[in-house]
Symmetry: C2
Subunit: 214 residues, 2 copies
């Protein structure tokens, strides 16, 4: 448990070393998504990445370091891969398209795996305290990106001035994460769809009530 903090690649590794470290991290992230963190051994990562055990220890210290690298990878991947539409949510149409995207991803995946980043929370938080800051930062960035679109809608007058974009973003994000848990547990994409649609119905209803408030 001594070497939980992974070495900083920018300081210790050459460009080639960083690329190798990144490749191993991506392989580990994929395996941990497919099989769970507990279901992924270092041996699995060696075999899939085609590297030696000494390389894993060189780049990550130990399994703790590799897990932390995967959490940091998925935190960054959240807005690039997991939720690529998060930065577009500045209209009701965009919000509905975003919901459809997430439901379709679950249908394609047969509801396996849940959220690539969110599913790490239960698996990692309590046994790897060093990941706390990575989770907080990753989630805050993600929620903040959703909130930006909602703030633009409020500023434009699509949402009433009394609407709180941050609170609405938290509730939308909870619907996404909770819906994904339910969909994974019950292998039913309809649960995510209901959760997201209801959260969006609420946001649309705020707009419909604007005249009464004005």
């Amino acid at each position: 448990m001594e070497t939980k903090t992974p070495r900083a690649p920018a300081v210790y590794f050459t460009a080639k070393g960083q690329a190798t470290r990144q490749r191993i991290t991506e392989v580990a992230a994929r395996l941990m998504f497919e099989r769970g963190v507990a279901g992924t051994s270092l041996e699995d990562v060696f075999a899939e990445a085609g590297v030696s055990s000494s390389q894993i220890y060189h780049y990550f210290g130990d399994k703790h370091g590799l897990i932390r690298a995967v959490v940091q990878f998925q935190a960054k991947a959240a807005l690039l891969c997991t939720d690529p539409l998060a930065s577009t949510l500045d209209s009701f149409e965009a919000l509905r398209a975003w919901a459809r995207f997430h439901v379709e991803v679950q249908i394609e995946r047969h509801c396996v795996g849940g959220c690539a980043f969110g599913s790490l929370v239960s698996q990692v938080t309590e046994i790897e305290p060093d990941t706390q800051a990575d989770f907080s930062e990753g989630f805050q960035t993600w929620q903040g990106t959703i909130a930006s679109g909602l703030a633009a809608m409020r500023d434009r007058g699509d949402l009433p001035a009394t609407a709180d974009p941050n609170d609405l973003a938290v509730s939308l994000f909870a619907a996404l994460q909770g819906g994904l848990i339910m969909t994974q547990a019950q292998r039913n994409p309809r649960l995510l769809e209901i959760a997201l649609d209801t959260a969006l119905n609420h946001i649309e209803s705020l707009a419909q009530r604007t005249p009464e408030l004005a």
Copy 2:
């Protein structure tokens, strides 16, 4: 991986044996909640329960059998311990009290552990396929209990006839599960509070819009 299905205690064990099996399951459930499934070894369970390794193998077959017993235990404990107010949700006051209860539990626990049952989904689903039915049944019972209260509110006229109690229960339950994930990841009970309050604001707003629909 051969002995994943735990033996049925009613068939194979005496009353004393069943009590011992139950006690070991409860200890394992507590450890897995505090340390995660991966962070709980069979040795930890032997030590905490004060039983021998041969008893674990006798009662559960192997770690797969013990994990499945814990999932079944938490599915039952959901309505008894984790969410004891779920069967009372037939008024707006009861719904707000329910939300406060869950937020207060998180404050007391310093946001550690998440949902005792929901946190097992990411940890267990993909590596223990035999638990699929246990998760589905447990979640459906829980959601159905929440839906019953909302159905009573609709039948009484507190919610409009157009409100779907099952869909609203799914969205409330997603707010709970998603809010718990966010609260665990960011160690901030306010996130759960916002998620639940927003979901309840939506349900209350349906009632406020009744006259327009009538």
